[in-house]
């Protein structure tokens, strides 16, 4: 279940399209360490965008044995706007379904459940206003990570809440 905000994504994609032809794509290899005595593996992301413009950053890591669930969280440095995230096996163009993915301009929070051990790549797209800004975050894996998949009842609450937000935004705009 993908919960990406479609409207925001479209807006961000348009922004990306206007950002010029510069690309500073790169691949970062993310080492995950076992954490304490748990089944958790964790690794930090700290990736510097080398040039202004749209970018496609690839984060290569492993799917840990006996740690089938994965999360990818990232925060954008100054001037970076995220537009999307995908997961696939390394060097494979077929994307794997995400159980949840929330991409705002400044943050990413994605979850993929029930993965096997192997070599994977998270691919993050976005636009950098200037060179030198960083993407920071974490890749986390464990045997049982709760995905941000809302229950049906939660959906109703969320939709209600979104309606309220829309009303609030509308009211503010009217002000």
């Amino acid at each position: 279940m993908t919960t990406t905000s479609t409207r925001l994504a479209c807006a961000l994609a348009l922004t990306a399209g206007l950002a010029g032809a510069a690309h500073a794509d790169s691949t970062t290899y993310v080492f995950l360490s076992p954490v304490g005595a748990t089944t958790t593996f964790s690794g930090a992301i700290n990736d510097v965008i080398a040039a202004a413009g749209s970018f496609t950053e690839t984060f290569v890591t492993f799917g840990a044995p006996a740690a089938s669930d994965m999360t990818f969280t990232a925060a954008a440095g100054t001037g970076i706007t995220f537009t999307g995230i995908t997961l696939s096996y390394w060097l494979d163009t077929t994307t794997l379904p995400l159980n949840s993915a929330t991409v705002t301009g400044t943050s990413i929070n994605a979850t993929a459940l029930d993965q096997i051990s192997g070599t994977y790549q998270w691919v993050v797209t976005g636009v950098a206003a200037t060179a030198g800004a960083s993407i920071t975050g974490t890749i986390l894996e464990d045997t049982n990570i709760a995905a941000a998949v809302p229950e049906p009842g939660t959906w109703a609450l969320m939709l209600g809440g979104m309606g309220l937000m829309a009303l609030t935004v509308g009211r503010r705009r009217r002000l």
Binding site: T27, Y29, G63, G118
Partner: protein, 646 residues
């Protein structure tokens, strides 16, 4: 005879599907162990190579092998002699002589021509080999300090030879085959036997791997110290003994890359109470054709492997004559070993407990083994191989430790060959009363030390567990070198290869000579992705107890306990097959159609030769109430198994 093949035609058509090396790995780099490249090897250094010749009508050979185990065929149980095999499937003597003459005309010395007319061994200097095959030979120093040579490019077959020669092999002299035995780490044994509350954080992996447990003469009825009599009882060989079958008038062969001391086995047999009547003979399979080549016989070289192979097989078949084929641990040595053991045709059943992850073989490395294993089958000789001890992750044990390297699912050769019986491993039910808690395995399961993960992590850390206790378990999975053979097609539980299987360095790693760890820099690619969804040969075929925690005593100059590994299962099956050969009254032949046919007939029901293993994993593949890549068909009941042979 109840297996399912109905006709020669069917058998032949099915056989054509089996045993062909897949092109799945073509153009993929095979991972190689770290070694310092010292540059061009001396041009005057002499290397012995193997020259494999093309099989005369491979498809017919496969069909013939299938027909020998088909009761509807006129060829049923009519196994070939090596001479008959050579005449039908080898090259003509004229062609063999022409190849020999050509090699000699180019300065090489042909040291052996095997009588199967499919393999020649030849020696030459690097200058001669380079001139003839266009190769570049470099000298290397291994992480452990040993020197060897490795060829940097594929040898080109001279145009004159291309109609007859299949391949040039053995230019690399690296000792890369590994014995598949394990031992309980000494630190864990201490925790089990004393009051030590925590494992040493400074204990190195080499210490873990090489630890010898202190033991006087073991109590063979205890787990970790089991002897062959306990094996016979557990797998129901005893009724066969009671009926007078113990391997008498049969010969079993052990193939190995390390020498040993003969008195070790006799000490073992005496201690466990086995009275052997069969003979024991050591045969050197020297690539240079002599009987004087050096076979390493130190513990580090694997003498313990040879000892346990002989002790287990000879102990389970006390009436069988034993042939111990020894060869140097090199690529040429391996081809000489298999070729001699098979072409001698003295052994009724063969086993090997050494191997190498199949993904470490280059695209042409495996080609010479197809006709050899087919030859064994055509002569009626089952060949059994240990499926290795790295669980589902056979390549990780090659020196690419997780998590510095991404983990990769892989299986081991020769167990992955469709004409070799892959011998897998289980853990027997156990309860370990450790100083910081109890570890329990309630039912027989695939051997995999994931059941120790919670305990090790709780008293040390998860990182320590992964660094020192992972991956340890029974080898098994899906081959990406060999297509799914006919006997596994349509079988519930057979799997295809998993996606995402590649190996990349994720943390810069220093070489560690004591652990064999390969050095790398972040981003180094060891293996590009292996084929996903590949319908490959599933390994293993059958399993027996292999976990050191429920394992065995070995005598190799002194007693040690807590030994295990699929290394035990291969010679145990070899011994059992020798007993079955005596009862059957003739060689057993190509076993796979018989085993899988019997499984389709009996399942796990009454009288079945097989017992299901239904819980646990080999660190990835789950055991199920069907065929599975963790334990294969399951464990065996030898007495029931004897009923499928006629």
């Amino acid at each position: 005879m109840k297996f399912s093949m109905k006709s020669v035609a069917l058998a032949a058509s099915l056989a054509l599907l089996a045993g062909s090396a897949s092109a799945a790995l073509a153009k993929r780099a095979a991972p190689q162990t770290l070694a310092v490249d010292n540059g061009l090897a001396a041009s005057t250094d002499t290397v012995t190579i193997a020259v494999s010749l093309k099989v005369n009508n491979l498809d017919d050979l496969k069909a013939f092998v299938a027909s020998t185990v088909d009761p509807a065929s006129a060829n049923y149980q009519k196994f070939l002699t090596p001479e008959q095999f050579a005449a039908r499937y080898g090259q003509s003597s004229a062609n063999v002589l022409a190849v020999k003459a050509y090699l000699e005309a180019n300065g090489l010395t042909v040291t052996q021509v095997f009588s199967n007319n499919l393999v020649l061994m030849a020696s030459g200097t690097n200058a001669q080999l380079s001139a003839l095959f266009g190769t570049t030979q470099h000298s290397f120093t291994s992480a452990s300090g040993g020197n060897f040579q490795r060829v940097l490019n594929q040898p080109a077959i001279p145009a004159y030879l291309q109609g007859v020669v299949a391949g040039i092999h053995g230019l690399s002299t690296e000792p890369r085959f590994r014995p598949h035995n394990r031992q309980i780490p000494a630190e864990l044994a201490v925790v089990q036997s004393a009051s030590k509350a925590s494992l040493s954080s400074t204990t190195s992996r080499s210490t873990l791997a090489g630890a010898a447990l202190p033991a006087a003469t073991p109590v063979f009825t205890n787990p970790q110290s089991y002897g062959v009599k306990q094996v016979a009882t557990r797998y129901n060989v005893d009724p066969l003994y009671a009926a007078g079958y113990n391997g008498t008038n049969t010969t079993l062969g052990i193939m190995t890359f390390a020498g040993y001391t003969a008195s070790w086995a006799t000490t073992y047999w005496s201690a466990v109470g086995v009275t052997r009547t069969g003979t024991v003979t050591v045969i050197k399979a020297c690539p240079d054709g002599t009987t004087t080549c050096t076979i390493a016989s130190t513990a580090a070289a694997g003498s313990g492997e040879t000892a346990l192979d002989v002790e287990q097989s000879g102990g389970l078949a006390p009436g069988a004559n034993l042939l111990i084929y020894e060869a140097p641990n090199t690529d040429a040595g391996a081809i000489a070993l298999y070729t001699k053991a098979i072409t001698d045709n003295k052994a009724d059943t063969l086993s090997i407990s050494w191997g190498l992850t199949e993904v470490a073989y280059g695209p042409t490395d495996l080609a010479p083994y197809d006709p050899l294993f087919l030859q064994a089958a055509a002569q009626g000789v089952p060949v059994t191989a240990a499926s290795a001890d790295g669980g589902a992750y056979d390549a990780v044990g090659l020196g690419y430790p997780f998590p510095n390297y991404s983990p990769t699912l892989a299986v081991d050769f020769p167990a992955s060959h469709p004409y070799v019986v892959g011998a897998g491993g289980t853990t027997l039910p156990l309860s370990l009363n450790l100083s910081a808690g109890t570890v329990t395995v309630p039912a027989e399961r695939p051997w995999g030390w994931d059941y120790l993960q919670g305990y090790i992590s709780s008293i040390q850390s998860a990182a320590y567990y992964y660094a020192n206790y992972w991956p340890v378990g029974a080898g098994g999975g899906v081959s990406v070198q060999y297509d799914l053979p006919a006997y596994q097609q349509g079988l519930a539980g057979v799997r295809t290869s998993m996606p995402g299987q590649a190996m990349v360095c994720l943390q810069t790693t220093a070489a560690n000579t004591s652990t064999g760890t390969q050095a790398c820099t972040v981003g180094d690619v060891v293996m590009t992705p292996l084929p996903a969804g590949f319908a490959g040969r599933n390994v293993p075929d059958i399993s027996m107890n292999a976990d050191p925690e429920t394992g065995y005593a070995v005598y190799s100059g002194s007693w040690s306990t807590g030994n295990g590994g699929t290394s035990f299962v291969a010679p145990q099956l070899n011994g059992i097959f020798a007993v079955l050969t005596q009862k059957t009254g003739h060689r057993l032949g190509w076993l796979h159609p018989l085993l899988y046919g019997a499984f389709k007939t009996y399942g796990y029901g009454s009288g079945s030769p097989f017992k299901a293993v239904t819980t646990g994993t080999n660190l990835f593949w789950p055991a199920t109430n069907s065929y599975n890549p963790a334990t294969g068909i399951g464990t065996i009941d030898a007495n029931n198994l004897s009923s499928i042979f006629h």
